[in-house]
Amino acid sequence: MTLTETHAPAESAASPAGRERPAGGGPAGVLARLWALRGGRTALVTVAVLVLVALTAPWLAGLEGQDPNTFHDTLLNSATGGSPDGAFGGVSAQHWLGVEPTTGRDLFARLVYGARVSLGVAVGATIGQLLLGLLVGLTAGLGSRWADALLSRVTDLALALPTFFFSIALLAVVPQSFPRPLLLGLILSGLGWAPIARIVRAETRVLREREYVQAAVLTGAGNWRIARREILPGLVAPVATYTAIVLPQNIVAEAGLSFLGLGVRPPTSSWGQMLSTATTWFQVDPAYVLVPALTLLVCVLAFAGLGEALRVAFDPKASVPVRQRRARREAARPVPSTKDQAR
């Protein structure tokens, strides 16, 4: 449902960008435009921080002096269901976000290590979706009429599958001994490539008619060379934008599946797994629920914001954001003065 909603604007926004080929003077230009957008900057910084947290998880946990799997019996009140002693789930100088009820494992350490799984699975799944989508989309867009018809129907079929229920079914069928993060990534990419394939196919068919592509065809370039040298650069804008949109969807999907107990295996932590064990504790230990819930919220918001900002940054018609901001500032300045005058 969300997939179809989001892919429509991405597609329409992408087409003009493709015509200009490539937008705004290469990646550096796009990055500059992105940075100039206030939302884009915030999102970019947040995403960078989250990725940094995931990469430096052992170091961060070491800084706190904890690791994610050590039990702390002494911090729990065994007589009251194993709830943590102290306020906010046992927050202290040693345990920055408190400890997990019934085990006493450090929540901060579990959260930063959980970022590795949550972001890792989401990034892996997105890359998988991207590769599959590009492959199918390009083949359909450049291939023969028959290949196009066949692949397009397969894409329609994949698009119509209820992704979440299929993931649940597949996760339940595969033996428990299969590495879970890898399995999650494979299943999410195997079920979520269709929207990208559609965008890529549509875009490819538009680009195929451009003069420079026709020229390449006339010089006798093969399909592979055309795809790589002529079509792919034109696809960067829509695909990059769409990637930033599906990534948070994949984070949510991983969290949802882990929440249902189908995700990572103990003692590994992920944000969804943390949320899952925390839900029953919300009345007694609200901090335990809030920690993974807020992290997920911030993460998904940041990626969604980044997607939107990327769309604007890639779109040459969206006017130059730098000038816009300056203009706004200038327009904003007189306002207090008029207020002063009014006073």
């Binding site: 799997n69 050590t70 039990f71 019996d73 729990l76 009140n77 065994s78 007589a79 009251t80 269901g81 194993g82 709830s83 009820p101 019934t102 085990t103 006493g104 428990q176 001994s177 107990g261 295996r265 103990p266 003692p267 029953t280 504790w281 009345q283 007694v284 230990d285």
Partner: protein, 572 residues
């Protein structure tokens, strides 16, 4: 200093007030939690009791199919059996007492023949008299392949039980080892001595079934009642309505008070919903109890902080041990030193906390848990202390030729919320300190029993549990340590695959003892003797903490099963 004292005085006065109100018999509107002190068996009758259960009971109530301990909770309201558990709080609740029979059975010929006489004037809910033929028919039905599901003991114990296929169809439809010399006498002929037979006779397979009313597989929806209630309405998996059986009277039944006029059971509710409804106790839920939902750790934490709620919590224990099972046929557990190392390395405090703390689990160093009082003997041959002794474990591993530690698989049941992931994780982190790396092997419920209980596929180490079918050391130790009980095809519980002829002979000898106390002492001694071999690592026994509604009285957990005895609960 003054204020707490005044508050204390005030609450004491209000409790006394509500107490006296309840004693007047009104009880209505009093918000004080369960004033069971005002309970009187003589005036307890009336009202509607609500039961909120998570089980679906979708199989219905066929006495042949039910697998209960001591007759179960709801089944015991519908079926009277030859014997039953004693309905009293405390350890006397583990005693077996006569129900339909005049005594708990007369043994003869080395406890291989058991004779029962029925009480006079017993009637089914439809008014027909209960005879010994109905008891015999009830037992025979449980052998029928289409009514499988009950406990395995009858087939194992009765002469000719192994080949008997039940009373339906052609061929041999009569089980000769259950004899009925007259309408009020039934005699059981066993192929071996079984001093525990009176305990088995409390199971629903010993409830009378009138042959004329038997509908085979359909009987589970509307069985003919012999107990204080009969089914007024039953939607499988959803709800069950029980009303009084007009042909039942207290004068012939000393074990069931049957206080409420009506019992309405809601089935298949989520445990969280049940605990929430019982703790808020609003409207009709004030008259509610549950027969199967223990408090979970978060609810327990909430309840502990609220003195009013805390009053409505009762705790009890079902004798069930959670333990680590070794396969002695597989390395490295063929070496006793390695088994001892694991016994030393275990952190029982972490395990108890993982279960939800001391109110939901109690550490145990003995295989027969403390709650199986009569058959329990304390021992701790490999003292791990409260949180484990990894140094000693390392030392033993080095002695056994594993100076660099070992890596072993551990199978656990992911669908079992208590022996599942939390306990496995707690074990793994404690073992890691002793250089023992556990490779966790999570298995779904069906996979777990299929894999672990089949010797060919059994992993070297599994996390599992064992409960007593009745409060005796016999059914507790025999399936686990009797070498003749090793089943190669599946359904094997002797996970150690331990077969010592001397121990087998000892088991046979104890089975001949018909005096309960003497037999239990022997079982306890056998358990203590087997404990020295480190065939298992006993971890903890589960405790039950259950809430009841604020109007409910005389709610206690019977010690036989560790659950409410509905037959004694009152809402008036």
């Amino acid at each position: 200093m003054l204020r707490p004292a005044r508050i204390a005085l005030f609450t004491a006065a209000s409790v006394a007030l509500t107490g006296s109100l309840a004693a007047c018999g009104s009880g209505a509107g009093s918000s004080a939690g369960g004033s069971s002190d005002a309970f009187s068996a003589a005036t307890c009758q009336g009202g509607t009791l609500r039961v909120l259960d998570s089980a679906k009971n979708s199989k219905g109530f066929d006495p042949a199919v039910l697998y209960t301990s001591g007759g179960g909770a709801i089944p015991r309201l519908l079926f009277r059996t030859l014997t039953t558990r004693q309905s009293v709080p405390g350890t006397d609740g583990t005693k077996v007492v006569p129900d339909l029979a005049t005594d708990t059975g007369k043994p003869s010929e080395n406890a291989t023949v058991w004779t029962y006489h029925l009480k006079p004037n017993l009637r089914f809910a439809d008014g027909t008299p209960i005879t010994s033929a109905d008891i015999k028919y009830g037992v025979e039905r449980s052998f029928s392949p289409q009514l499988a599901g009950g406990p395995p003991y009858l087939r194992d114990w009765l002469v000719g039980g192994a080949d008997y296929q039940g009373p339906y169809g052609s061929g041999n439809t009569d089980l000769a080892s259950v004899a009925t010399p007259d309408a009020s006498t039934v005699v059981f002929h066993l192929r071996k001595s079984e001093g525990d037979f009176p305990y088995l006779a409390a199971e629903t397979q010993f409830a009378p079934v009138p042959k004329a009313k038997d509908t085979g597989k359909e009987y589970n929806a509307d069985p003919v009642s012999s107990g204080p209630y009969t089914i007024a309405g039953f939607t499988k998996g959803r709800e069950l309505d029980l009303v009084r059986n007009p042909h039942w009277s207290r004068s012939s039944d000393q074990q069931r008070l049957a206080c409420p006029d009506r019992i309405e059971v809601s089935l298949g509710l989520s445990p969280a919903v049940i605990n929430q409804r019982l703790s808020s106790s609003v409207g009709q839920d004030a008259n509610a109890i549950t027969t199967d939902t223990s408090l979970d750790a978060p609810t327990l934490a909430k309840v502990s902080a609220d003195p009013a709620l805390k009053k409505r919590v009762v705790t009890g224990k079902f004798p069930q041990i959670y333990y680590l099972a070794f396969d002695l046929k597989k390395a490295p557990f063929d070496n006793q030193l390695v088994r001892e190392a694991l016994s030393y390395a275990v952190d029982r405090t972490a395990l108890v906390n993982a279960e939800g703390g001391t109110q939901l689990a109690v550490p145990s160093t003995t295989f027969t848990p403390e709650s199986l009082t009569a058959a329990h003997q304390d021992y701790d041959y490999f003292p791990a202390g409260a949180t484990g002794n990894p140094e000693k474990a390392k030392q033993l591993l080095a002695q056994a030729g594993h100076p660099n530690g070992i890596t072993v698989p551990l199978a656990y049941d992911t669908d079992d919320t208590s022996t599942g992931a939390p306990a496995a994780t707690a074990l793994a982190q404690a073992f890691a300190k002793a250089g023992i790396t556990l490779q966790l092997q999570p298995l779904g419920d069906a996979d777990f029993s299929g894999t672990v209980n089949t010797p060919a596929t059994q992993p070297a180490l599994s996390l599992t549990s064992w409960g007593a079918d009745w409060p005796s050391g016999g059914p507790f130790l025999t399936p686990i340590f009797d070498g003749r009980q090793i089943v190669t095809g599946g359904g094997n519980f002797n996970l150690a695959q331990y077969n010592d002829p001397a121990v087998n002979a000892q088991i046979d000898k104890i089975n001949q003892i018909t005096d309960y106390a003497t037999a239990q002492k022997q079982w306890a001694a056998l358990d203590a003797q087997l404990g020295k071999l480190a065939l298992t690592v006993p971890l903890y026994e589960e405790a039950t903490s259950v809430l009841y509604g604020s109007h409910v009285k005389n709610a206690y957990l019977d010690q036989w099963r560790g659950w409410y005895d509905i037959a004694s609960v009152s809402v008036k």
